[in-house]
């Protein structure tokens, strides 16, 4: 899978390009600011290096503002007088003004709208593939509701290595639920609504190609949506330190055509065990 | 060669070092308890259920303790007033009373804790009791600190050299400020835990 390279990974979701735009724009601005300052800085160092017989020169604005004489033409405008007296300090705020305008623009026209699109406007449940992802030390449990479209009940006491999320198979809604480990399959072009939960500690759902990252906090249900735009095999990695096996906590993400996806889901749903007898919490784990 | 702040009226805040130090210390203490109160509010509003304080705790003993602490604030002010007038005996009397009241507070608190332990209630029982034991326990540690400071002042009052030291009165004042602070914390703690 030759999709990783230098710079940003391939963009595979609807909002990936918007995030990339911000990253490139800010880096362009950063480099521009740094180069301009660097040139000015180097110029100052060369021009004002110590030379014999050339003393340092104090600027006007190095004196206290009270001592600065104001031209007569300003006598009628007290405010202008204040500005004139403090021009030295004001001059040093000029770069600030430019940076600030740039930042205000970024916030108003980019950060706030794009942020609310990604994190606050969840797709309608009717149009989306509903998925629940439960993270644990050190793996991912991905659950699809199955043909009935309903997620079944879970109980912490039922957790067992054969039943990693503690699915209560006596609940009819959970009988057809599909649970897969470390594997997330998504249909191309359809929004996926993912509910994130954690069994133990804080984990983080990170798929570099989708440009999405979300902490998973135990005790909370955190929603997240993705609309894949590119068929392929990507990587789901935990991005929040979660213990000694943190770096091993990874999964595979497959974006498939809708037909392939539903065929896969059907085959898994058929393979799902039908209401086995409840497993007692084991002491020998 | 000693330069003291008092020599430089133009560059000194007008408050003695010790008093300024105590006030700054109280600022950090306010932040400490403010954090704990904020955590309490956050946890309580986020909880699915929360018991009423008067069902879960011993309100009469808590009320008694409130009265004890408020009276001890009065006695420490009296002690300061006596020290201001260089009344050695009066100072010892009022400071002794303050100490007595603070011990009484701890004893009552001990009975309260004992009653809860006897019922099998521990900090791990529920989030409410975790908050209760942690907040009152931390406040109790502050009371202990106050007892250490106040009893050392009482001890010092038996030596004449300390009465000759101009700093002594400032120390009594600092101890009084701290004691009032501990009292105020309780005045917030009591309704927050027992009554709301």
């Amino acid at each position: 899978m030759n999709i990783y390279g230098w710079g940003l990974p391939v963009a595979a979701s609807t909002y990936a390009q918007k995030i990339d735009f911000g990253i490139w724009l800010i880096h362009a601005a950063m480099i521009a600011i740094f180069v301009l300052w660097g040139i000015f800085f180097t110029y100052l160092l060369v021009k004002y290096r110590k030379r014999d017989g050339v003393p340092a020169v104090r600027d006007d604005h190095d004196e206290t503002p009270a001592k600065i004489s104001v031209p007569d033409s300003f006598s009628k405008f007290p405010f202008a007088q204040i500005l004139y007296k403090h021009q030295g300090e004001l001059k040093s705020l000029a770069p600030d003004l430019i940076v600030m305008l740039f930042e205000v623009g970024l916030i108003v026209f980019y950060a706030v709208p794009v942020w609310s699109r990604i994190k606050m406007q969840m797709p309608d449940k009717k149009d989306a593939v509903e998925i629940r992802v439960e993270a644990e030390q050190f793996g991912w449990n991905v659950r699809y509701p199955g043909p009935d479209g309903k997620f079944g009940r879970t109980k912490p006491e039922l957790v067992h290595f054969s039943n990693p999320i503690g699915l209560d198979r006596t609940d009819p809604a959970s009988a057809d639920d599909v649970v897969v480990g470390n594997e997330l399959r998504l249909p191309l072009g359809k929004p996926a609504l993912i509910e994130l939960t954690s069994k133990d500690v804080i984990h983080d759902f990170f798929v570099p190609e989708f440009r999405i990252k979300q902490d998973i906090v135990p005790g909370m249900e955190i929603p997240l949506w993705i609309q894949p735009t590119r068929v392929g095999h990507y990587e789901l990695a935990c991005a929040q330190l979660c213990g000694f096996g943190h770096s091993l906590m990874r999964g595979d993400v497959y974006v498939q055509s809708p037909a392939d996806f539903s065929a896969w889901l059907k085959s898994r749903a058929a393979a799902a065990p039908a209401a086995p007898k409840p497993v007692k919490p084991s002491e020998d784990f | 060669m000693i330069t003291t702040a008092m020599d430089n009226p133009d560059t000194h805040s007008g408050v003695s070092n010790a008093k300024l130090g105590v006030w700054l210390f109280l600022c950090s203490e306010i932040m400490l308890f403010a954090t704990l109160f904020t955590s309490y509010i956050v946890l309580r509003t986020g909880a699915s259920s929360w018991p009423w304080g008067w069902d879960a705790l011993n309100v009469p003993l808590g009320t008694l303790n409130t009265a004890i602490l408020i009276s001890s604030s009065v006695t420490i002010v009296m002690a300061y007033a006596r020290a201001y007038d260089k009344d050695v005996k009066g100072f010892r009397l009022w400071m002794g009373l303050t100490l007595l009241l603070s011990f009484a507070f701890l004893v009552v608190k001990g009975f309260e804790y004992h009653g809860e332990f006897a019922k099998g209630i521990w900090p791990s029982t529920s989030l409410f009791y975790a908050c209760y034991f942690t907040l009152t326990g931390l406040h109790g540690i502050h009371i202990l600190g106050g007892i250490v400071v106040n009893s050392s002042l009482l001890y010092m009052s038996f030596k004449k050299e300390h009465w000759d030291n101009p700093l002594f009165l400032g120390r009594v004042e600092g101890a009084g400020l701290y004691w009032h602070f501990v009292d105020i914390v309780w005045i917030f703690l009591f309704p927050a835990l027992y009554l709301l």
Partner: protein, 576 residues
Amino acid sequence: MSGDSNGHGAHEPSFWRKYVFSVDHKVIGLQYMMTAMSFLMVGFALMLLMRWQLAWPGAPIPFFGRLFPPDLAPNGVMSGEFYNSLGAMHGTIMVFLGVVPLAVGAYGNYLLPLQIGAPDMAFPRLNMASYWLFLGGGLLMLSSFMMPGGAAQSGWTSYPPLSIINPGQTVWLFSMVLIITSSLLGSINFLVTAMNMRAPGMSLWRLPVFCWAQMVTSVLLLLAFPPLEAAAFLQVMDRVFHTSFYMPKGLVVLGHVSTVSGGGQPLLWEHLFWFLAHPEVYVLVLPPMGIVAEIIANNTRKPLHGYKTIVVSMISIGVMSFLVWAHHMFISGMSPALSNFFLVTTMIISVPSVAILTCLIFSLKGGSIRFTTPMLYALAFLPLFGIGGLTGLPLGLTVTDIYLHDTYYVIGHFHFVVVTGSILALLGGTYHWFPKWFGRKMNDTLGKVHFWGSVVCMIGVFGPMFPMGLAGASRRLYDPTAQVHNLIVQPLNVVSTVFAYGLFLFQLPFIWNFFHSMFRGEKTEENPWHATTLEWACPSPPPHGNFDKTPRVHRGPYEYSAPGRKTDYWMQTDPA
């Protein structure tokens, strides 16, 4: 005040009283310096071990690997637990035991009383107590490696529930409480000293920038540390008494159903932690900025550009730093609407930071720049700290932070701020004030070797982290090659590691220079740099009690090249 001044000028104290249990702010300052620099070396050594594992995952550590107990490093190969311990301790030691004590404890203690013309701190015995508390906390922190369960393994941020489940955290919490108490006592002392002990004529607007930086820093420490202390207290309760302040209901840890009562919130800790830890960033940065300002004014031979702008900016940074903490938590699961507020405050706080940097650069204009060794450090600070600041921009912006959060980009960003910013400035400060501390100069050639070597290596260590972060490489990975998307940038880890070992080698001339110059360095006079501030108006090293007679201050701190004077510097104490 005589009770607090501990008999200056009295009979010669014993060796223990003079060098070990001293109440003299200068001795305590140097004790802080030695201890903090040792801790910096320890933190650095931990990082060198981690860098080995990052560059060559699974390869046995050469030479030292066999020295570690087999449960930490079986067959010399670092284990995941050990890697996490090293990571948590590297962060904790560098921040709380290295840079802050060096910037505040060492420089502040030594220089603040001198620069304001005071004979000592306001509370000398309290000062001694803060040093010993700090040392106790530090040693306890180090000893946790030897204790059952080992050192903390949950990162310096110690996010629960991991920090409550993992072993080793309790010792971390207790030593943090000691360190916090030490900082609180220290900051009270600094503030009272600065408010009450200034020499006659030293009005607030005549204070050197360094003193202002120390004052703002002290306020930050005073108000931001207690919340962490409270938070740490709650975590201790969770660990020792099994309460559930940070533990939600129904956890299943490695197959075991948790028995705690539940109902707590892990995010509460994150909020409380960052409420301290963001102001803490400015505690790391402001005193070094003050040092840079002093060195620049002295070596350009002209007043600082916009002294008041710098001071007002520092104060506004101090105020604003309490309102930005949650920009570390954009993707933590807190309400996304809240993020917009912290996005705006974050952009506002960048304004005063840019203003300070601009003023420092404009200060060069019109100067007669002497490229002394300390000046090289101060000059390198400007662009390199600039990189650190600029790369904070995509992290402070909510949208781009979604991708860059918790990647190597973050590591690169804050190491440029703290290492090529703070640590570089602190090293420059050593060369600048060394003559004052010991009456001797440090060797210039060795200083320049140290400077160029360190700067090149620092850029080599932290520069590659930006492309790594952009490629999506996460931080805190024991084995980065376990994730496919990291493989292509793995060579950068090797580059970074090689430069880290280089950086270590280039510290050797500094260590030798420091100790050799202490005893054998070229002797200097009272004011070798022809500086204007008060610390240069007393003998080098200053005696107990500092000034022979109380200095009188007649003018501002940076009166260089004043017109109509014979010399190009006009000391604050010169009557005319």
